[in-house]
Symmetry: C2
Subunit: 680 residues, 2 copies
Amino acid sequence: MEGVDYLAPERNKAQFDVEEMKIVWAGSRNAFEVSDRISRLVASDPAFRKDNRAVLGRKELFKNTLKKAAHAWKRIIELRLTEEEASKLRFYVDEPAFTDLHWGMFVPAIKGQGTEEQQQKWLPLAYKMQIIGCYAQTELGHGSNVQGLETTATFDPQTDEFVIHSPTLTSSKWWPGGLGKVSTHAVVYARLITDGQDHGVHGFIVQLRSLDDHLPLPGITIGDIGMKFGNGAYNTMDNGVLRFDNVRIPRNQMLMRLVLFRSIMVLQVTREGKCVRSNVPRQLVYGTMVYVRQSIVSDASCALSRAVCIATRYSAVRRQFGSTNGGLETQVIDYKTQQARLFPLLASAYAFRFVGEWLKWLYMDVTQRLQANDFSTLPEAHACTAGLKSLTTSATAVKLTSLLQDGIEECRKLCGGHGYLCSSGLPELFAVYVPTCTYEGDNIVLLLQVARHLVKTISQLGSGKKPVGTTAYMGRVEHLMQCRSDVQKAEDWLKPNVVLEVFEARAARMSVACAQTLSKFTNPEEGFLEHSADLVEAAVAHCQLIVVSKFFDKLQQDIPGKGVKPQLQILCGIYALFLLHKHQGDFLSTGCITPKQASLANDQLRSLYSQVCPNAIALVDAFNYTDHYLGSVLGRYDGNVYPKLYEEAWKDPLNDSVVPAGYHEYVRPMLKQQLRNARL
Amino acid sequence: MEGVDYLAPERNKAQFDVEEMKIVWAGSRNAFEVSDRISRLVASDPAFRKDNRAVLGRKELFKNTLKKAAHAWKRIIELRLTEEEASKLRFYVDEPAFTDLHWGMFVPAIKGQGTEEQQQKWLPLAYKMQIIGCYAQTELGHGSNVQGLETTATFDPQTDEFVIHSPTLTSSKWWPGGLGKVSTHAVVYARLITDGQDHGVHGFIVQLRSLDDHLPLPGITIGDIGMKFGNGAYNTMDNGVLRFDNVRIPRNQMLMRLVLFRSIMVLQVTREGKCVRSNVPRQLVYGTMVYVRQSIVSDASCALSRAVCIATRYSAVRRQFGSTNGGLETQVIDYKTQQARLFPLLASAYAFRFVGEWLKWLYMDVTQRLQANDFSTLPEAHACTAGLKSLTTSATAVKLTSLLQDGIEECRKLCGGHGYLCSSGLPELFAVYVPTCTYEGDNIVLLLQVARHLVKTISQLGSGKKPVGTTAYMGRVEHLMQCRSDVQKAEDWLKPNVVLEVFEARAARMSVACAQTLSKFTNPEEGFLEHSADLVEAAVAHCQLIVVSKFFDKLQQDIPGKGVKPQLQILCGIYALFLLHKHQGDFLSTGCITPKQASLANDQLRSLYSQVCPNAIALVDAFNYTDHYLGSVLGRYDGNVYPKLYEEAWKDPLNDSVVPAGYHEYVRPMLKQQLRNARL
């Protein structure tokens, strides 16, 4: 029956104002309204249909993506959408495409690293999509270690040009999205060589394809790197391979304003081929980094909340066991084992949302100060970036994406067998978010950077240098090393200060233990390598503290709406106590809590699960996702799952004919015992 | 360069006899020889090529599978392969197909549940593949709870027939492999109704399709349920949907010999429609269950070892960071963080292999006793099955498959970005093994069954009933509740008794704690539901103990070959100490070990990683997998990864043309600012 809301009984149980929660989730009333309007616009446009993705072959799939990208751009122009609206529209179209790299990497690279002159030349072309750009950094043999890239850009003073060249097979550019089939231009990272000297890795704007016939320019070999994980997923993207055979570009196509990528270096090449360092201060780099990480965190909360929304709704629809006298079976959401897996993920979705929001604020704050252009007057920004280095150069984002990936998979498992069907939407969601763990820096490499910062912070404590920002708690290290939690009953675990202190104590003690171990090595680098697994664990403890504390900060704010704040308090409690339970070993081995206290935390956690249960459906409704965006039969708003699953099945190409292709050649001879003579 | 072994330097480091380790892995010299011969046979036959799977559309992919199945059967007949060899051949063909269900479920169901007469009629047809069968149990609305199935089989005494019917949409059979497009017959599970009375769920042999033209028989609606997770993966299988509209079958097609599935019930329907219970003893059921679980464990060790083989070889090929003076970068296998993730999985592959071997022995032992047909003389079997109930009805297998799935994903991540490419083989491997977590019983449901058994065992301790088999350690519960580990230095953790005792103490204490909590409830079922999350954790502790103890048992055997046993001892140590580290919280909160001892275990673990590192490549070579079976460019035996990755890329259909389809319609108008007028 169309139009019936099978989840209405669940929605009626909610103890808070869902509409107000939608505003909290969106971040502001305005953000909610834009999201709401644009998501409906996309959902109602048949050109953005995506339920057929899994059955399309690669070529068809890709062509379809090109069509959607063109249609999206057309709508953006026709409706005169603002930059914010346009970006939301691309978001809700929900299909990886070359435009992601054009807008997300190519344009920012030119804005960030191009001189005024370069920006004036290239940005108008890019803004109108008269050129399409990508970001060609990683190579077949080189990923995380950017300084190990092999592609060369050798300055030729005779012609005032750079010669871009791929000297080896492993120097082939490999992975850049949008490169394989579409981009006309790329920002290419290559080793700058002048006068036989290697000046490290820098960015260059290189045209790849003719603007007339789209053929690769002379000296350029280019193609797609092949199928990736999943059915549709990232196979809509033309991740590419690229080789240069002595390709020449003018000197002014080296990005000169601020030449950097993770490493910080400022350099210009003069007409004579001399390298000149300019004096842009180091702090500028932090802005870009905060931006990238912040968008990753924000993506993480979106993806996880989608998966959680699907799993939560389906858990209320699905019934299994527990029937007495032929009555209805029990909804699986009512099982404690289901709750213990699902609700921490629901809480995580909210936790990530709020830490993402805080990072956005941080980014704006840093940027505004930098845009004043008077670098010397930014002591505040300096302190901030220094103190937040552990977060910005690294890891909350990164740990989140790993958690995210596991979280999406867990949601799929929570949907039982049907979660394995493409029509559940979960395989696609998983396959699309899998790479976030690797791109923008391998998780482990980045967590080690956090650990390095933590150890450094500790080593400087004696010198009177006061740790700031997210490491400020280290300033109370003496207290944190010896404090003991005074929790005596389960409810004590509801107190923010109690929870925060044990998270701080755990993080501090793990970092200090690492620092002590390292100090025993004559060569600290050797110690660092030997104990890197422990260092990673210390970094994780620190990052979890950040997320927990930002959730508590959020709860300090004024949050309107009937019952809204109490729900968030419950979710915050679930998030923190779940982590405490999961990492019990850390808390116990460092003596922050006793086994008895750990057990009380677990009791409290169970009680919080019971409290959140009647609100779960409303809490996922607050994400305000359309059925189009969710793309899941199991996660339908109206809960009408089974008839739709049944309907979807018949759309598979295999069902085009009753007797399958191949029956006469391969099955019938088997059944009729005529295989011996059959020609297969 | 073809023919060069780029991993030779790694192979030369090995400190043990790889050829002897291959025998250990295979289980016996004979098993090794059969596997080796058949895997080469498959690898050298172009008809079994599988590297093109990811780019095929669903129809093509499926037709290709039909072809392979026919070719495999043809070869089996031509070469007069034994049953063991035929099954190995299907294994190495490595593509899910309808034959899996025919041989793995349909035939065993008839053998296990058919009367002599039924077996004589149906088995010869099935053995020659004159009929093709599947196993139709799960329904759209019913998975784990078999007793909740809705399909009915109503006896009509007037015609001496059963009427099979699907009364609701949710009663549609859903998921059975081989059903959608191929099977001519099925064992269908339905509620037996005689004289208006419901006798629960039983199995019936039902013909589905005409043997002449393959069309569904009257009253039968049948089709494929659509795309599933992954590119090729399980999309080669026609998982199906099936509805009955009052389909009649003769009475003698009810499987009557031993009617059971998980629940144990023995029942026949007479000509008059009377239900008669016969007296086949309950113990018979255990044989089948042990068999199914044992094959799941065995599959788990295969899949995990494949993933580990790929990740280990690629970790030795891949280099990143650590270059000094322009020299080679460091092999990623040398990083401690890589080792701490990779080597526990390598150790797990071996651990699962040995527990699988033990289960195989257990199965043979139980079967031989049952086949004597003199049920009364099997006290030994009775004791054995009772004691092993926790293992057989449930969970080691199940916990393993979950670990397996996470393990394959972890291996993919350990390969960095390139693991996301289909040519790495890892996405396929993951997508194929994902469903093992759900089928054959949801993990959590089964773990709760173990927990129930553990609690029951504890409650009977007072009554003088001695726990046996895998729960025998519960007999020493008084000692285990209060013992303290006397580990004082890292090397103490190498002693089997020391390790076993802490694993036993942890498992016993967690189970006892659960039992105590439950005893406080007046309604024990209520307590069971409320504390199910803790019960699951206790069950996991018990299962891990079993795997660890079976690994130690293996090491008690005489194992020939230079250096072979020492390597296995290292792996066993890694497996146990990794679990101890991962579940530190359990061991500490139950007071089995002190924080200091936990830290010493970690030190020992790190040292074991260093010891296994030079042997890692040889340890995965011992799996003896062909490059065909591995199906991974990253895992190639010769380590020649990069040129082959590059070569593979060009095979993608997107690279058929330099300018992609869709360029003229969708990209060019964008670049030329003509989108406004374009018809999309």
